[in-house]
């Protein structure tokens, strides 16, 4: 990421991946990526990071305490 254009691209990568970048800027970004291997590699590794976060799960939760169960049941059946 040597030049000024790469810096601008770098700042917009998340919005691009989230589909939140305006169309005009998307086209500019895609044109840059076609000729810039480091930026393209960075984009792909950022995408992998986001996808890994989406797949991340906490393994095991304890069961709700009797107090919480009782309070939520009472609230749920209150008219």
């Amino acid at each position: 990421m040597a030049d000024r254009r790469c810096k601008q691209i770098f700042a917009a990568l998340s919005e691009f991946l989230d589909g939140e970048l305006p169309v005009k800027h998307c086209r500019e970004l895609e044109e840059h990526l076609e000729g810039c291997k480091p930026c393209l590699a960075y984009l792909e590794t950022l995408r992998t990071t986001i996808q890994a976060c989406r797949k991340y799960r906490v393994h095991k939760a304890p069961r709700p305490s009797p107090r919480v169960r009782a309070a939520l049941r009472k609230a749920a059946f209150r008219s």
């Binding site: 040597a2 990071t49 986001i50 939520l72 609230a75």
Partner: protein
């Protein structure tokens, strides 16, 4: 919005006994999971879950729909996490500068211009790299960590993240990008240097192995 949380809240509000029982388990699991991701320890996650769900019981009928209730629920859980008694041993109190997170030209020069040889599934399934991911998230300052967890792990949209965090959408996007880049850079460093060698491997010379890895990358890239 997180579909599981929204569905659980709809079930809880339905008044159907079976649906309510399912909702209890789902909400416990969702709020505890959120607490673990943000706080990084079981005690704070459990305190967060207990307090959040007790408050939910008091406010269940106050919201027009499950989505509004879900946003409120995350807001309460976030506040509980921010009040947690145990400070994360990883998290610094500073802000993240985009300039500092950007790879330097000298880093890029020797690095492979290709994606990682690992899938997102492997990141979360392989113990050591999963640990790196968890530590990288916990190492983020809390305002950034919360945005990343809400957006990428809990899968709220930008507007909902901004609502929960009580910040503008622009600020949410800015924090999200910096948080993602920071986590990505930790994983990149790990994947390039490889796992920390065992004492036996260290005797054989980890430096030599790193150099071999670097040469292999250069050759592949031509």
């Amino acid at each position: 919005m997180n579909i599981e949380v929204q569905q659980a809240l709809e079930n809880l509000r339905s008044g159907d006994p079976e649906a309510v029982e399912r909702a209890l388990e789902s909400l416990q699991s969702a709020v505890y999971g959120f607490g673990m991701k943000v706080c990084g320890n079981h005690e704070d996650a459990e305190d967060t879950t207990q307090e959040t769900l007790l408050r939910l019981a008091r406010s269940l009928k106050e919201f027009p729909d499950a989505r509004a209730l879900a946003v409120w629920l995350y807001k309460v859980a976030k506040t509980q996490c921010l009040m947690s008694r145990r400070k994360s041993k990883f998290a610094p109190a500073q802000m993240l500068s985009l300039e500092a997170l950007m790879p330097r030209p000298e880093d890029v020069a020797g690095a492979p211009s290709k994606p990682w040889p690992i899938t997102p599934e492997e990141v979360v399934l392989r113990g050591e790299i999963r640990d790196r991911l968890e530590h990288a998230v916990l190492a983020l300052p809390k305002p950034y960590r919360l945005v990343l967890i809400l957006r990428d792990m809990e899968q709220l949209n930008t507007k909902e993240v901004a609502e929960v965090m009580e910040i503008s959408e622009e600020t949410a996007k800015m924090r999200l990008h910096r948080a993602r880049v920071s986590v990505r850079n930790v994983l990149e460093k790990y994947l390039h240097t490889g796992p920390r060698p065992s004492p036996a491997a260290a005797v054989k010379g980890p430096r030599k192995r790193s150099a071999l890895t670097a040469r292999r990358y250069r050759r592949t890239d031509g």
